[in-house]
């Protein structure tokens, strides 16, 4: 693995390998000393052109627990806010000697562009690009599912599990990465959203599509992943009439959650709109693994950095 840009670039074996490493990373995080010397002497740059405190902190913690040096380069108060282009930023990072760049951008394809433009030849990790992909989020979701439900599959993947993803699929990079990864690992995925919040050609995706949350829940899924409704985008765009109508049809209420099988999990990538797409009592309830997702995010990102940086792959390639 040279870069970590899109789940579409991964084979099932590679995905399982990263999950297995994540497991070992998670194990180290319960020890008395959590810091590992693995990446000592390397420098990881967090290039965050779009604000995201949660993801940035998660990557920063992951890099530091592997003893990498971390440089945070965020939009606010930097040359990025003064209109510096991605190209000039990349050339700067290359000259500074970064060993890997973790990039978050509001532009779909930004990570891909950075990896393939020739401006910089270091490994690139996609920390979310526009409405395209958020592959480490999908890895941590898969990791969380496997930790709880792995016993039901009998494989290293998620074979036979049924996961329902609910909400704004159209604008969700989390949904795109999860559809690819969960299906790659053998899970059955159902997307549930009002029709306007599904891409026109999502019928081609390796998943089922439904407009009816209650019908999807009646199938007894093993997990339900609620997506954040980006209110500012929704109402102005006319995607649905009111928050109340959306919540009634697509919100995960206490009543809906109660109809799930006993073992079923509730996930949310955060940040949540409590009382809108998910009831507060469900988010805090026994099925919820939302807080655990955050902790697992660090382990998964440690694994991704490990796979990109702790090998001779780059030396061989150059």
């Amino acid at each position: 693995m040279k870069h970590f840009i899109s789940i579409a670039d991964l084979s099932r074996a590679e995905a399982e390998s990263v999950l297995a490493t994540s497991e070992q990373m998670a194990a180290t995080q319960s020890r008395s000393i959590r810091k590992l010397p693995t990446l000592v002497g390397t420098t990881v740059v967090n290039l965050f052109m779009e604000d995201s405190t949660r993801t940035r902190i998660s990557f920063e913690a992951a890099a530091k627990r592997l003893s990498a040096d971390v440089i945070n380069f965020s939009a606010k108060g930097s040359s990025l806010s003064k209109g510096e282009s991605l190209k000039d930023t990349a050339l700067t990072l290359q000259a500074m000697g970064a060993d890997a760049v973790v990039v978050r951008s509001s532009s779909s394809g930004a990570a891909h562009l950075l990896a393939h433009s020739g401006w910089i030849d270091q490994p690139i990790v996609n920390a979310g690009d526009g409405t395209h992909e958020h592959p480490t989020q999908a890895m941590l979701d898969a990791f969380t599912l496997r930790r709880h439900l792995g016993g039901r599959t009998g494989t290293a993947g998620l074979d036979g599990l049924h996961v329902v993803i609910v909400g704004d699929i159209l604008h969700s990079r989390v949904a795109r990465s999860n559809v690819l990864l969960l299906s790659l690992l053998g899970a059955r995925v159902t997307l549930v959203a009002p029709p306007a919040l599904l891409p026109v050609a999502s019928g081609d995706w390796p998943c089922e599509v439904s407009y009816d949350l209650d019908a999807a829940l009646a199938q007894g899924p093993d997990a339900v992943m609620m997506l954040r409704v980006q209110r500012e985008r929704m109402i102005g765009g006319g995607f649905f009439p009111t928050e109340g109508e959306y919540a009634r049809r697509y919100g995960l209420s206490e009543d809906r959650a109660a109809r799930l099988p006993d073992h079923a999990l509730v996930l949310h990538p955060g940040p949540m709109n409590r009382g809108f797409e998910i009831a507060g009592s469900v988010a805090d309830g026994p099925r919820s693994v939302i807080v655990e997702q955050v902790a697992n995010g660090v382990s998964v990102r440690m694994a991704v950095l490990y796979h990109l940086l702790a090998s001779n792959a780059r030396e061989d390639a150059s």
Binding site: A8, S85, L86, K87, S105, S107, S108, G109, A110, H112, L113, H116, S117, D129, G130, T131, H132, E133, R173, R176, P199, V200, A201, S202, D204, W205
Partner: protein
Amino acid sequence: MTTAPAPILIVGGSLYGERTADLLIQDGAIAAISAEGESLEAPAGAEVIDAAGCVILPGLVDLHTHLREPGGEEAETVDTGTRAAARGGFTAVHAMANTTPVADTAGVVEQVLRRGEEAGHCDVRPIGAVTVGLGGERMAELDAMAGSRARVRVFSDDGKCVHDPVLMRRALEYVKSFDGVIAQHAQDPRLTEGAQMHEGAVSAQLGLAGWPAVAEESIIARDVLLAEHVGSRLHVCHLSTAGSVEIVRWAKQRGVDVTCEVTPHHLMLTDELVRGYDATYKVNPPLRTAADVEAVRAGLADGTIDIVATDHAPHPRDAKDREWDQAAMGMTGLETALPVVQRTMVETGRLSWRDVARVLSEAPSRIARDTTQGRPLAVGEAANVLVWDPRPVAAVDPAAHASRSTNTPFRGRELPGRNLLTLLRGRPTVRDGLVLDRSGAPVPGERGPLPAAEED
């Protein structure tokens, strides 16, 4: 003006690809054409060009060129843009109005006309804006532009759609008095807010905001009905979808006075190319699907689509070396147009060279009511002639292009054909692929970006 050039005898070329003939060019006109099976004697002092294996066509005419001057000289100037046109075999280009300032007054269109005359690489016919500043709100002084020395007959807000149906209706009506035409950039602005690429399977995967086919088709449908209602001429720019072809076919069957164009890139390329997020492939209207490519080829072959126009849209490198959603839309096209048409339409047997003369020379001039270009290859006609060698195949190299910009989507593709000779009223503007100045010497330097010091 200049001294009369020596006579030129073009020997052994194939007229419209139909019959072998010799052409004698003298005093800027076609002086003689040999009869079937015969040849012509070279007059004293004549230059003889061996055109065996070549196709003789009327000089090409592009109804849709962005020369960027005034205001966008970092991307292109009238001089470099017309050089690129000459290199592509064009003897006339119609320059779109979306310059800075906008070509919405007689003064600006006359300036563009004059710059074209100074450059001398091909004729430049300015297109006037439909609305003031392309603002889509108030009609520009179309009659003043029509009556100016530039004699504007084509009006377009290209780059933006004349979206207001009342304004579109009034413009269609207004230009009737001088036999003008509105060339519509068909794009519903509300359906394409923030649009980045064709809306379909690829956009869904890439997470790029979709530019749906219906945003083009709904405007074309509305406009053909408006044109029918008011009895006006309508031209549809860069039609790109299968649905658009069907609507125009239907309108023509009803007798609506509508013409339309397709670009070379929509004849060859699909939205699959966007997968690498390389903004070279970002264009408006966007690259569509393989089914759309097939539909526009079929439409061009059966005459539903009247012409090929390049939508040559040069951009400086910095405008393309960006994240996809921040990059500029547009592709250069003048220097690859005929190779693409040869590859997609002639070599596939869908168009003859005679058809090529129609779609790339005669019909565009007729739509623009320009009686000096797109003329038949006949004795007594002005010698606007292209001698095209269809045999050589070479990889497209933007560095060799005369355009100041390098944003060609065909970079590295093997494409056929070579411009052996282009004559503008009898004067060679291109010889062996090299652009010539008025004295007949190759233009120094050919091309190249401005030195950094001059860019500020």
